[in-house]
């Protein structure tokens, strides 16, 4: 089944808060992020049918959820909706929770879902016997078993400790891939964004300030300003492991990168986040230098809008973008201009092994 696209264009006034959003959610994981109170959860609730907008329209493929004359009640929207508090039914067993909305026509069974989420051993327990992480997984499974056309995850990993999050994150990716599910993922956690997002949507004060592929949004104007994040995401391929040095060599179109050894097999793609503050620029390739990671790049734009620092947008050989944060004085000394060829020195600490991602 080809996944359908959710389209919405809505306006909603709730007291002093006004929400206005135009958004398409297609295949893959769309991460919706923004500061607290931006309206992320309200927007998720509008899509799920918890809140009725004042005007506009919402549709999933050919199914109209909402317009001037239609209001489709939540039980007929075929959406999976999972919130931060897993909200399992306390009076039902885990099995009964999972089967509450089970669509018997779904192309996967309870056993498939339970094994993907590693909850097979929990089926006969009751919700209060489960840990926080287990409850989140059951809530995910319960939503998936309804065979939804879109999965809405509203901060599904909030308030979990790092090991539990690390255990569940790959499961979310597997859900997308195994069950062919578009996912709307609400979070303000940067590691989840960088790990999961195919598409990134930024929200602030009830408005969408940027949306598009993750790398584009991060290197666009609204990204850093809105989120206090300053950097870029690039994809690289695992080239080889160097166990004696404790390093892994990655290959990009603009040169090799060395990072602390990871377990990813050679040839696999990984996603890396490079902080703009960890990128230095040089006109000539320096040889006697401790920084090992040097990528050749072309200056695309210089953004002087944020003194006392300047952001330089760089383009790698394969079109991927990188950001560097330097001083205006450095720009003058190097006489940086758009189109100029430079060498980007990336301190290896900027490459975070926890942010490894596996596009399939």
């Amino acid at each position: 089944m080809a996944s359908e696209t959710l389209s919405l264009d809505i306006a909603l006034q709730q007291g002093d808060f006004s929400l206005q959003a135009t958004l398409d959610i297609g295949p893959g994981i769309t991460v919706l992020t923004g500061p607290s109170g931006a309206g992320k959860s309200t927007l998720a609730g509008v899509i799920a049918g918890a809140t009725r907008p004042d005007s506009g329209n919402i549709s999933l493929g050919k199914t109209i959820f909402f317009n001037a004359s239609t209001w489709l009640p939540p039980q007929r929207r075929k959406l999976g909706y999972v919130l931060q508090d897993s909200l399992l039914f306390p009076h039902l067993s885990i099995r009964s929770n999972l089967l509450y909305g089970h669509d018997k026509a779904a192309p996967f069974s309870l056993d498939d879902v339970a094994s993907t989420l590693d909850i097979t051993d929990l089926l006969d327990r009751s919700p209060h016997q489960l840990s926080g992480g287990e409850r989140r997984r059951v809530a995910l499974g319960r939503a998936i078993l309804t065979n939804p056309s879109l999965l809405i995850l509203d901060e599904p990993l909030a308030n979990l400790d790092a090991p539990r999050r690390a255990a569940i994150l790959p499961m979310v990716e597997q859900l997308r891939d195994r069950f062919d599910l578009p996912i709307l993922y609400v979070t303000h956690s940067w590691d989840e964004i960088i790990r999961l997002a195919d598409t990134l949507v930024l929200m602030e004060n009830g408005r969408i300030t940027a949306q598009g592929p993750l790398a584009d949004v991060l290197t666009g104007q609204a990204g850093p300003a809105a989120m206090g994040i300053d950097g870029a995401v690039i994809e690289a391929q695992v080239s080889e492991h160097l166990p004696e040095a404790g390093l892994t060599k990655l290959e990009t179109a603009s040169g090799p990168l060395f990072i602390s050894q990871i377990s990813e097999a050679p040839k696999n793609q990984v996603r890396l986040f490079i902080n703009a503050g960890d990128v230095a620029l040089a006109l000539a390739r320096p040889d006697d230098i401790s920084v090992q990671n040097i990528l050749s790049a072309t200056v695309e734009a210089i953004d002087p809008q944020t003194p006392p620092v300047v952001h330089v947008l760089l383009r790698l050989a394969d079109g991927q973008a990188l950001r560097a944060r330097i001083t205006p004085r450095a720009v003058a000394v190097l006489n940086l201009q758009p189109g100029l060829h430079v060498h980007a020195l990336v301190k290896s600490v900027a490459l975070d092994r926890d942010l490894v991602h596996h596009p399939v």
Partner: protein, 235 residues
Amino acid sequence: MDFWLTSLTPFESEALRLSFKVALWATLASLPFAIGFAWLLARHDFWGKSILNALLHLPLVVPPVVVGYGLLVLFGQNGALGPFLQDVFGITIAFTWRGAAIAAAVIAFPLMLRAIRLSMEAVDPRLEFVARSLGASRLRVLATVTLPLTLPGIVAGLSLAFARSLGEFGATITFVANIPGETRTLPLALYTAINTPGAETEAGRIVVISILLALMALGLSELAARRVTRAVHGI
């Protein structure tokens, strides 16, 4: 039970049986209404909600005699509904045990409603929304999520209403009088004994029976409440 009943005088056992019958019917018959109104008040906003709420709680605050008189005006032989029920359905309310059950139900209703409503309001509305997002209709959500989670309140409401019905006096004697074998429940029997010269022993026995009955009812409801809470919340 038989032993206990045989050790009672006919006067006592008659009143005891009648009290049970009246309280049981009063409680069971008002349960669906209590659940319905609790759901309406706990989960919906509408114009006149506070007026309805006040009306439903009225029997708790007005003198029971007022309720009894009101019922008499409504269901009496010459009342608004009495002749209609008599002619169309052949049901006599006034001066029968059915009238006693109605009086007890009206008096106990606010207690049952309140217990169920509080318990229902404690159910997280997001659980109900999650159930709907999983494809359940409003009715299925009520039956599979809201009501099971309200069960502790339903049990509490049932036992409160049952206990209150057992003790109902004012509205009953006003509405259906004090007829042996028909409307003379335990409190009315006690009233009769008190008003009979030389029946102090009888009065004392009825007082003891009433207290034992109340303790039994409380104990049973406590037991049931614990079991239900464990079943619902797994604690």
